[in-house]
Symmetry: C2
Subunit: 338 residues, 2 copies
Amino acid sequence: MSFASLDEVHAFCRALPQGDGLAATTAKERQASLTKPPGSLGRLEELAAWMAHWQGRALPRLERVAIAVFAGNHGVTARGVSAYPQSVTAQMVLNFQRGGAAINQIAKAAGAELRVVPIELERPTQDFTVGPAMSANDFLAAVNIGYATVQPDDDLLAVGEMGIGNTTAASALCAALLGNGAEPWAGRGTGVDDDGLARKRRAIDAALARHRNVLGDALQAAAALGGRELAAIAGAVLAARKHGIPTLLDGFVATAAILPVARPYPAILDHCKAAHVSAEAGHRRLLNELGLRPLLDLDMRLGEASGAAVAMSLLRAAIACHHGMATFSEAGVAEAQG
Amino acid sequence: MSFASLDEVHAFCRALPQGDGLAATTAKERQASLTKPPGSLGRLEELAAWMAHWQGRALPRLERVAIAVFAGNHGVTARGVSAYPQSVTAQMVLNFQRGGAAINQIAKAAGAELRVVPIELERPTQDFTVGPAMSANDFLAAVNIGYATVQPDDDLLAVGEMGIGNTTAASALCAALLGNGAEPWAGRGTGVDDDGLARKRRAIDAALARHRNVLGDALQAAAALGGRELAAIAGAVLAARKHGIPTLLDGFVATAAILPVARPYPAILDHCKAAHVSAEAGHRRLLNELGLRPLLDLDMRLGEASGAAVAMSLLRAAIACHHGMATFSEAGVAEAQG
């Protein structure tokens, strides 16, 4: 499938697949029969039922586990918003392809397949203080690339990104769609200094003023202020919904990437979990706005889907218990007294 | 080694091994050279350096990973403090031995060896509202069993427990050593109802009054109010310190088990991390008192070392990055500007 217009994306989002409530109910009944006090595995029980719901299997599986890392370049780096030069995006993609980055090690430990998808790195988005970051067609092309990255038989998806300058784009999207200007949303990203942070905030506020006429449509805002890797994340999340694949959002940028869909269509988040809360300034605020409770809080702020990949082990533990534990009757263990 | 008196335990704790600061420094220098913004892996970086410190290896390893689950029975169950009958302790030990419990599944997923150590289940501790839970000799015997459960070449240890009634013992220890009576420390454990919770609090307050003359010595308090599985956890933590083994504490009971050592000798916690914060009422308060920040917060309250076993995957991710990532110079990636 591929989207030919923003209207087609809107139409898809108005009729999102709903998952399988019966599978979730059956999973919860199984959890109640296992040899532990009811509810004592906490969020691991919730995760098992959530995976059952979206996979449509009372015994969900984690055989094919995918991590998609999209990369893009950003014209706004010309404004001095990052501690690193734009060339680092391509250098890090090469590092991913050679197996030397954090995500390679964590993906291997998580038993996950890593899909690295650079998108037109040689053609950065336009500096959004000057004009729209992308045309509608460029935005849709990136959404479609993300959509196609997901395989219908994936059992779990994690989405993440790499792109020097992309916390500036993510902060701009948050400010455009949730308000309060650049200040509460813009943080230090990869570690920009005080002057760089001030430049970052000025660039965002300038972009909000320049593009104010299109910000009423969240998808147009995503084209004007976002980035190709953010658009691809949104596309991948839509594909995961289509195929019934539970999805882990990585950090601030990955969460901001789905905001242009989640703001008008909050139900898109039903098959998503926030894998972690990043140390990047705006992420906790963004999660609160979206009603997402993160699985992990480890002060990570790397991107690359690294937090989502770490969280995969929690899902593996949840599934291992859900499948492998004995029931009270199988084990001959007495249940709680009246 | 085995302790022949409480004085010998005190003497051990006055001269705790200190770890290897040079290995930790070397590990931190390596972290700074890896292809990521400095500090961007957050607590994963801290965990790598912490393991280096205690293992005395700049490249720490996780080959032999052990989970010790100690089980004991408690005379105070006669006071109606639990939702489950005392017989469930032995039934669950059998479930552990047959592979049907949550910890079996999580240990397997974590690549860990599970050591299940029931301690005189047929001889419960004395009801501590009537007399001391254990004699000093019974307490020391359990400490020594825990100590002997740890192997000198273990690379990582997780400690946990099983024992119907043992949140009552744990709460009593907290109240005795940290103050404020039973109320803030006693929670619902496996899920006791309101009447049971009231009985639990009355039993603890009665025990605090009965044993007030011995509570000035934390180890005597542990004998009077604790349990064999709690004493064994303390012994295992001492052995881990002796052998330089980083240690993950499981939930409320496991943390309370080390309190009689940590209260007089806070340095015992230097080689320990709180794996998670339990949903059991007193745990967050106890962690705050001890200055421990938990790695996970998943509403778990099962015990069995289940939270500690889930947290092992974070340590595996930390070590995978520490070992496997390319440095900036190896990967040809530009470092931060200015």
